[in-house]
Symmetry: C2
Subunit: 98 residues, 2 copies
């Protein structure tokens, strides 16, 4: 079962994501990042690849797209905040554009 991130997990895993452009919303205990691409095909291509990983892991982002921009928010509703699945999906998204 998915559980909320422990403090040691936060201390060890969040800083790298924050260094990579993710921001932490303390009110929602969510992380968010804005991805910019060269055009719509690249932006939606990124979303498509991320969508398949999200479905595979049964953990889905909140996200929006306007032309070449994709805004992503990750949190785990079932636990009322961040879980390891959010960090895993965030790292995968960073890897997809890497």
């Amino acid at each position: 079962m998915t559980e909320k991130l422990t403090q040691p997990e936060r201390d060890s895993d969040l800083p790298t994501l924050l260094d990579n452009g993710w921001t932490h919303d303390a009110d929602r205990d969510a992380i968010a990042k804005t991805f910019e691409f060269g055009n719509f095909i690249d932006a939606f291509g990124f979303m498509t690849r991320a969508a398949i990983w999200a479905e595979k892991w049964n953990h889905h982002p909140e996200w929006s797209n306007v032309y070449k921009t994709v805004e992503v928010t990750l949190t785990t509703h079932d636990v009322g905040g961040l879980s390891t699945l959010d960090l895993k999906l965030a790292r995968k998204m960073d890897q997809l554009i890497g």
Copy 2:
């Protein structure tokens, strides 16, 4: 060149879309609709099909997705409001789920 909808075009074409669940935001002169699906695969599948039409017509939605819900807003920035392309894309989206 894309041009803003004329009043006769609004009178003839908008009512059908409003009957189909689209709403008109007068401030932005945009139309919006929330699409609900059975699951994420169906929601993102719809987005994927719509994305290819959008790119083909070089006219892209503002949209967001949370699990099985897709919220779409259509307007034409170049003309500061609705154009025939918005209505065309709205009708296509309705057709994709029809």
